[in-house]
């Protein structure tokens, strides 16, 4: 349980970090290290060089900018969990963060690290895909960006190239006043890897009709998946419509089988949790008076 030897460098700028990454195939990025260090300890990963990006000022901070909240990649999960901007403007992210690992791992683990790790059952990538977030990258040629749908390719696999690293995540902020979220997951113990997770966000008008809706499931396929439930727009999100929409959207769901759960189980649970998440999001929005309070 001791990592193999490696060189450690802590560059002062993001450009320097990218140059180091681009110049060495065996270099890996480390930030919070909450997934990488166990991999090193078990020698499932043996990089020759670790490039520590945790303290880079370019990767810090949470800021609002035209219709989005941009979360710096090195933002620690515990910091995001407590952040008032995230609570107010990206309520789905605030809702799932307590389910990410345990308090001690959230104190070190970063938002960008969870995105770059691309675990199919992880909550933060699920939120990114469900809300249609944009992944901002640092590349040797300067800044770039990519929609989450293109970024997540498979289990622990992303479209990130050599010499690139995640710079920030841009979560869209819904403009509506009455927004609610719902989240459920099934795991062996709280905060363990989810067999299935479902996250939903809805916006209601004053009469309680659905203005916008988003639903995603994690842990089911080889990456987080957004389900198309746009048929619910304009409805009152009654139980029957929700059931019908989720069933229709999950018909083609590509589920995986492993030691923990079969594909059939995952598909069934995804439908059930999807329905529950939408109902919880509806009730959560209905309880929100939305008098410009967001």
């Amino acid at each position: 349980m001791k990592p193999a030897p490696f060189d450690y460098v802590r560059p002062d700028t993001l450009a320097e970090a990218c140059a180091l990454l681009a110049g060495d195939e065996d270099a890996r990025v480390i930030a919070g290290g909450q997934t990488l260090v166990p991999m090193l300890a078990m020698r499932l990963a043996r990089p020759a060089k670790l490039i520590d990006i945790l303290r880079l000022p370019e990767l810090a901070g949470i800021r609002e900018e035209n219709g989005a909240v941009v979360v710096g990649a090195a933002t620690r999960q515990a910091q995001a969990e407590r952040d008032p901007v995230i609570r107010a403007s990206v309520p789905m992210l605030a809702r799932v963060l307590p389910w990410v690992g345990h308090p001690p791992t959230r104190n070190r683990g970063t938002v960008g690290g969870s995105i770059a790790n691309a675990d199919p059952s992880a909550e933060i990538p699920l939120v990114a895909v469900t809300l249609g977030a944009e992944i901002l990258l640092a590349t040797p040629d300067g800044p770039a960006s990519m929609p989450s749908d293109d970024f997540f390719v498979g289990p622990m696999l992303t479209a990130i190239g050599q010499g690139e690293c995640v710079r920030a995540i841009r979560f869209p902020v819904w403009p509506h006043k009455r927004i609610g979220t719902g989240f459920f997951e099934i795991s062996a113990r709280k905060s363990d890897f989810a067999f299935v997770a479902a996250a939903a966000q809805v916006a209601l008008d004053e009469e309680g009709r659905c203005l916008d809706v988003a639903l995603g499931v994690g842990g089911v396929g080889d990456r987080p998946l957004r389900l198309d439930v746009s048929s619910l727009s304009g409805t009152r999100l009654d139980a029957a419509s929700i059931r019908e929409a989720v069933n229709a959207a999950s018909g083609e769901l590509d589920a995986m089988s492993d030691l923990h759960a079969s594909a059939a189980y995952r598909r069934r649970v995804a439908v059930t949790l999807g329905i529950r998440a939408l109902e919880a999001a509806r009730d959560n929005a209905a309880a929100n008076p939305g008098k410009g309070a967001r």
Partner: protein
Amino acid sequence: MKVDLRINGVNRVADVEPRKTLLDVLRENFLLNGTHAGCEHGVCGACTVLVDGEPVRSCLMFAVQADGYEITTIEGLAPAPGELSVIQDAFCETHGLQCGYCTPGMILAAHALLQNTLAPTREDIAEAISGNICRCTGYGQIIEAVQFAADRLRVANTPRPILTEKPVVEAK
């Protein structure tokens, strides 16, 4: 690689390989063996220390990453040699430990919780120690210990009303 650490309020210098975890440096270089080595891959919580007051697994952090932070180990909690902190004492009082392997991690997790939460609920406590595995007592008495410590700290820290009149002593 040379690294400057601040451990329990004291500046210390070590020359370590980058692959050495904070846990190993605490135990081997500084003989702070109260931080226990359990699974060494971030599952059990026995190696919990406080980094800037927040609980962190010292097996998931390399010592070379730890410069510039205030690190607190279990050795840094007691007010004086031979004494116990309120939380440590509460664990003894309520039989919150048996073999003691998980105890330093549990106490540091509880310490961080009680720094920020005056009156934690059972759920708050369960969440705070959710990353720490105990394999002997079960968790009932540990939760009881944290609740007991919280009660004692709360009472100790509550200002009592100042008596303006002398208590009347009835003459016989």
